[in-house]
């Protein structure tokens, strides 16, 4: 932050931390939700999502005891909700890395208020996505076959030319780098909680979690460089992960899937849905944890703008797909797209269009970008729309080359239970995390505080 307060005032640059907070206030405010006993609201929400998670786990157990015939999958629609959920949740995860890595590289100070929660969101979303990836193979206890390891079945190796193996590598690399990035940033903040702790058990817990961080200038200088390196590494990683997810579809020869637009189209969709989820979570977090001075309207405004732009990109991609399908002159391709919009799953297509392309257009108006209920509803709508986008892509399978092999896909109760269960797992992890770790990066917020410059005047 090279601008002084006077210059900032003159240029009308909004403060990233409002309310005239001092360094100590920042620590106290952000550590409060971790130090106080959880509120009734927290307990109620937590018990609700925990129940959903436990039911989900029981259903998963039953599903694999009985077999996947309980699901709606058939031939030709052999993938079903698991892969819809997988692509949806991986996409949700991407905004976290984008906020923390790309905005870091572009020196966007406003990221500091939201990066921690967004990174945690990434980790949990990727975990949920990975579990769907493992589950969709049908025999999840053999999931370790996806990894290349010297085994007792002779020189039998995984097929590195298979998109499923690419997924395995991409998702596990993404998960490990995101986790390391997230935890590295947490270490100094956990040290803050350790030093503030009064009870012995709490002190011991945070002592272990904080790795014995002291805050030496020498360590900080290494840590800052490493944060930058990890940001630079995760940026192409985000693009590669969703590109590879799109390869799951694009390397097939199915009309509607076999297109070069898939990688950028998937990445844009991922950012779009991810930012929508961040807005949903941040709107809740700033109310519940009383963090309005740290997650300001400016933060939300910026995220709404990004949502609008990525919404337009996604809209452009929908249009391009249609245009190219027509322009290619390939009748299977033309039919695939005609069938998407006007076939038996046309209703899903129009839900997708209205949620993803039309609803973010409200953010053209500043008044609506600054309106909490509007953005909250819009972010939920976008998430619904993005889930349907993946559903629409998956349903391309129901009518391929030969009309004799066409079949309808009807999700069963088990499919819906799996879908609801993913939300249960995600929110259980997120709520638990909010209790034990700071939702805002304490140390990083301090570096962008406007008061800092004025302190010695």
């Amino acid at each position: 932050m090279s601008l002084t307060q006077a210059v900032r005032d003159k240029l009308d640059i909004p403060d990233l931390v409002t309310g005239g907070k001092s360094l100590k206030d920042v620590t106290v405010d952000i550590a409060k939700p971790n130090e106080d006993f959880p509120t009734k609201l927290w307990w109620n929400t937590f018990l609700l999502v925990l129940t959903i998670t436990l039911i989900d786990v029981a259903i998963i157990g039953y599903l694999f005891y009985e077999g996947l015939y309980l699901l709606g999958i058939n031939n030709p629609v052999g993938w079903g909700f698991f892969v819809v959920n997988f692509v949806f949740w991986i996409g949700i995860g991407h905004a976290g890395t984008l906020i923390s890595a790309v905005l870091f590289l572009f020196r966007q100070g406003w990221r500091t208020g939201i990066n921690r929660a967004a990174e945690a969101m990434t980790i949990f979303a990727v975990l949920v996505a990975a579990s769907n990836l493992i589950l969709h193979v049908g025999r999840p206890w053999l999931g370790f076959w996806l990894f290349p390891y010297p085994n007792e079945r002779g020189p039998l190796w995984v097929n590195f030319r298979s998109p499923l193996i690419w997924d395995t590598f991409a998702v596990s690399t993404y998960l490990s780098i995101s986790m390391v990035f997230w935890y590295l940033g947490l270490i100094p903040d956990l040290a803050t909680l350790r030093d503030r702790a009064t009870e012995t058990w709490r002190k011991n817990l945070y002592n272990v979690l904080s790795f014995g961080w002291v805050g030496s200038a020498r360590s900080w200088s290494h840590l800052e460089i490493v944060s930058m390196i990890l940001a630079a590494l995760s940026t192409p990683l985000v693009l590669s992960v969703h590109t590879i997810v799109s390869f799951d579809f694009a390397v097939s020869i199915l009309p509607g899937w076999h297109t070069t637009i898939f990688p950028p189209y998937f990445v844009a969709g991922a950012i779009f849905s991810g930012f929508a989820m961040v807005v949903t979570l941040m709107v809740i977090a700033r109310e519940v944890f009383n963090l309005k001075n740290y997650i300001t309207m400016k933060h939300l405004d910026n995220m709404n703008k990004i949502m609008m732009v990525t919404g337009l990109i996604v809209g452009l991609a929908y249009g391009t797909e249609f245009f190219i399908a027509w322009y290619s002159g390939n009748e299977y391709e033309v039919f695939a797209f005609w069938n998407r919009a006007f076939g038996p799953y046309g209703w899903a297509y129009f839900i997708m269009i209205s949620c993803n392309v039309l609803s973010p257009q409200v953010f053209w108006f500043r008044k609506l970008r600054y309106n909490i209920p509007v953005m909250f509803v819009a972010s939920l709508v976008v998430n619904v729309g993005m889930w349907f986008e993946r559903f629409v892509i998956m349903m391309t399978l129901n009518r391929d080359f030969l009309p004799s092999s066409w079949a309808m896909y009807t999700p069963t109760l088990f499919d819906y239970a799996m879908l609801i269960g993913t939300f249960g797992i995600f929110f259980t992890l997120f709520l638990l995390w909010c209790r034990i770790m700071p939702v805002i990066a304490i140390a990083e917020v301090k570096t962008v505080m406007p008061q800092k410059e004025g302190a010695h005047h």
Binding site: L184, T192, R196, G212, R218, H222, V226
Partner: protein, 188 residues
């Protein structure tokens, strides 16, 4: 040519015995670090609640050399990625899939990329942990405010020309509010 230098890999030194002075503002700690550097107290350190910009120049600490670790670890991961896929598919278990070349290296690119990023990231973080002396759960905390809103100047006993009373008055002279002499026996 730009080559790595050993002093770029500066290690965290344990704070067992020495003098700790507390400062209230980032400007004060930068000023204090400059003065301590002038005095040539070797191995002195600053303890900060967040990365204060300009402290490295004030202390005379060179830029971290960790990007070198990333660079070489990346090359290592990339090589492993290429060799592993080539050796398993073209040598150890050649499999003819729709008549494609055994060494169909275009298909290897995603995994080569992922392994490059993975090892570059993980080894860099491992190096950071090594240089920062973490994880270590038995470390003593000098002052609880140092991770919240105050800044510490640490002058270790091992520093050249260390004289306890002289150092105490030096730190006080810089405007250090609470100046404590830390000794191993009065720890805990």
């Amino acid at each position: 040519m730009y080559l790595p230098k050993l002093e770029q890999f500066h290690k965290y030194k344990e704070m067992d015995e020495g003098v700790l002075g507390l400062f209230e503002t980032p400007e004060a700690i930068i000023h204090a670090a400059e003065k301590a550097k002038e005095k040539d107290y070797k191995g002195f350190d600053c303890i900060l609640p967040y990365p204060v910009h300009g402290i490295d120049e004030a202390m005379g600490t060179p830029r971290s050399g960790l990007p070198w670790v990333t660079f070489f670890a990346g090359i290592f991961g990339c090589t492993i990625g290429i060799l592993f896929q080539y050796l398993t598919h073209a040598h150890d278990w050649p499999l003819n899939i729709s008549g494609k070349s055994l060494n169909a290296w275009f298909a290897y690119v995603p995994i080569i990329f992922e392994l490059t990023v993975f090892s570059a990231g993980i080894y860099t973080v491992a190096a950071l942990c090594f240089l920062s002396g973490i994880p270590k759960a038995t470390r003593r905390i000098l002052h609880p405010d140092l991770t919240s809103h105050r800044f510490g100047l640490w002058i270790p006993k091992s520093a050249k020309g260390y004289n306890e009373s002289e150092v105490v008055s030096f730190v006080k002279g810089l405007g250090g509010s609470e100046v404590t002499v830390v000794k191993p026996e009065n720890q805990k």
